[in-house]
Symmetry: C2
Subunit: 408 residues, 2 copies
């Protein structure tokens, strides 16, 4: 990741951090190398066994390179629950790893931003989390035509499936199949449902349910959530979609995904409510939570596809101090010291035998806006020349006034 790409990543990171600040989320972090135990039973087994990099530490414990942040967060919350103040709004921006062959939009190492609101089971917390998700896309310059937030509820789905006659024991399997629908074709989906052992009338009911749009009136939870979303003015970004169930086992209520409108079906952001996750680390604790994650890789692809990549440039000095011969070094070094101690970023050209035009050409290529020229003649007069690299104008300035001129 060369400076130009890094500058773009930094723009994305700054945007995410600014949203965190605006919504009152505090930064935290955890280890990259995590004990494998915290993922087992909490994340889908597939993710742990097939999709993570594993290493042994010096005590022969198995560590994995964290594939996601939520289990780490739940462990951390469980450990210090007594000292923390709830409701708690937490933000992490950090590396995640997945053991897979790299493909478009899926890298083996990438950054994820996680936003979590802990300590409230109230619908208003769900609305706040959805507002954060939408704020990210709006801050990145996207509009209603670019993205949509699909949402659903795990508890609503479980009720619904029960109503169709699906028993508790098949619930998880059926929800996982619904989650995988967009990766398989219709006949395969049907075949897999049959294999679970569900009757064809139940399959028909399920099929027709999954293909029909749902209105907020479908469930009191949705009704209330949508009234809050409407109060916030973001209901039109959201749509209830019975096909959204999310792959992770720990979700209990709201589940949601942001998808690109008219683009790939890959989720740009995903999350939900996980009311029992903290208690799985300490059964005496009952700390509900709701949150989501999004990654730099998918967001960057989204921005590219929508033509939303901003013009950013890598950091460069404000001033190049040219060095015209060994004799001039002391004066040049003093100017560098003077500028930096006044907060003006600058660099000394690190060669004394390169001609002035070569040095100025370097300033041009690096987009450095000003150059200071300081030869024997200037030293004698007690001045320096300040050259504006854009206009090519140069001014003779008294040494002691350089800072003032450059700051104006």
């Amino acid at each position: 990741m060369y400076p130009q790409d890094k500058a773009l990543q930094d723009f994305l990171f700054e945007t995410l951090k600014n949203v965190a600040v605006l919504f009152g989320f505090a930064s935290y972090d955890g280890p990259i190398l995590e004990d494998i135990q915290i993922y087992l039973n909490k994340t889908s087994k597939e993710l742990v066994e097939k999709q993570t990099f594993q290493v042994q530490d010096k005590k022969d414990q198995t560590l994995i390179l964290r594939p996601e942040m939520t289990p780490t967060l739940a462990r951390m919350i469980a450990k210090k629950a007594g000292e923390l103040t709830f409701p708690l709004r937490l933000f992490n921006l950090g590396l995640r790893f997945r053991y897979e062959a790299p493909q478009k939009g899926r890298e083996r190492e990438f950054y994820q931003a996680d936003f979590d609101l802990l300590g409230s089971a109230y619908v208003l917390a769900d609305m706040e989390i959805l507002a954060v998700a939408i704020a990210i896309f709006l801050s990145l310059g996207a509009s209603k035509n670019d993205f949509i937030l699909y949402l659903n509820s795990r508890s609503f789905m479980e009720q619904k499936l029960e109503g169709f006659g699906i028993g508790k024991k098949d619930m998880k399997t059926i929800l996982n199949l619904i989650d995988k629908q967009d990766k398989i074709d219709e006949p395969t989906f049907m075949k897999l449902l049959q294999e679970v052992g569900i009757g064809s009338s139940v399959i028909n009911d399920l099929q027709s349910f999954l293909t029909k749009p749902l209105s907020p009136a479908a469930d009191p939870y949705f009704t209330r959530l949508f009234s809050y979303l409407k109060n916030y003015g973001i209901d039109s970004y959201c749509q209830i979609n019975p096909n959204i169930v999310r792959g992770l086992d720990y979700y209990t209520g709201l589940v949601f995904e942001v998808k690109e409108k008219g683009g790939t079906m890959r989720a740009l952001l995903g999350g939900g409510r996980y009311d029992n996750l903290v208690s799985s680390f300490d059964s005496k604790l009952s700390i509900p939570g709701v949150g989501f994650a999004t990654s730099d890789v998918v967001l960057m692809e989204f921005l590219k596809e929508k033509g939303l990549i901003p013009k950013v440039k890598p950091n460069t000095s404000q001033v190049l101090i040219t060095v015209l011969g060994e004799d001039m070094v002391p004066s040049c070094v003093e100017i560098a010291k003077l500028l930096r101690s006044n907060g003006i970023s600058c660099e000394l050209y690190p060669s004394s035998n390169r001609k002035l035009d070569k040095q100025l050409k370097y300033a041009d290529r690096q987009n450095i806006p000003f150059a200071i020229i300081l030869g024997p003649e200037e030293t004698q007069k007690g001045i320096v020349k300040v050259k504006d690299m854009k206009t090519r104008e140069q001014k003779e300035v008294k040494k002691e006034e350089v800072v003032k001129i450059l700051k104006s």
Copy 2:
């Protein structure tokens, strides 16, 4: 890393980034999982074999969790040398991993900041790098009494050792022994020197050389470097020390370390000149470089020991919007929307059945400076109450003036 510690780490990261900006260094990054090949022959074998975490990717290639950044940087420079503009100032702040039992000041995962100046073999580039190193400590609030920068030159040392009669074949071994001196006692050091097969008169010469201080007059390189350091006003932070050689094989000239004055002997920062590293990736290229690295773990310990830990607090909202009953939610949500769209960070208390004093207590505990109180009475009057949590004063403010009041 809970919010309080993370806020402290963020302060450190910001300080490092600000120094990078001031000296014109552009940010870059590389992968955490690196091909093991780029370390072999370039780093000490010990580091690669014993001190790194290794994983296999899906193509059965061995990857290691990067223990340092310089080989990645050299590979990246070699790959795009034709497109890059030199001299090039590069900065990375990222994770590094070491396979070792965690101990004080040495964690298995930590952040390192790397500063590198590529494309100049000139002494002024060495001075600039040393100025950056010193600027970091001064920016962190440290003074001359807290730290010292020891420097030496690999080429000077090689000449010197040759002068004592040490042959080319023993050079690397002897330099490595000098590097390890502070971890072993005097008799062990002597014994190990004898084991290399060096005569006792040579050992005596070496011993007496290593224990005597060196002045800048010892070598023309030092003379010139110190004259530049003096021009910059930082010569008094620096001292030539023949015992500093650094452990990595790729250094060719300047080597240096910052150490705590009157504290542990552990280096707080270390680096040097590596003029042949890029050509080891592409023999047609000759791109000299000089740089250093420092880590969050050692810097944080240094700040603690010197009482330089600043008061920082995790991010919190500027305003808590209290929610006094389900009926009030629409008005509260509208206020949240209004504040955020005006750049004022705020949060909705995510419960409607908690008493006002409980909600205000939460604002106190989270250090949230303002609370907005909005009950049925206020709604009727078209106002909100803005409470200053420090002074406990509260003002009645018209809804449309809330933003103005909070921004003033």
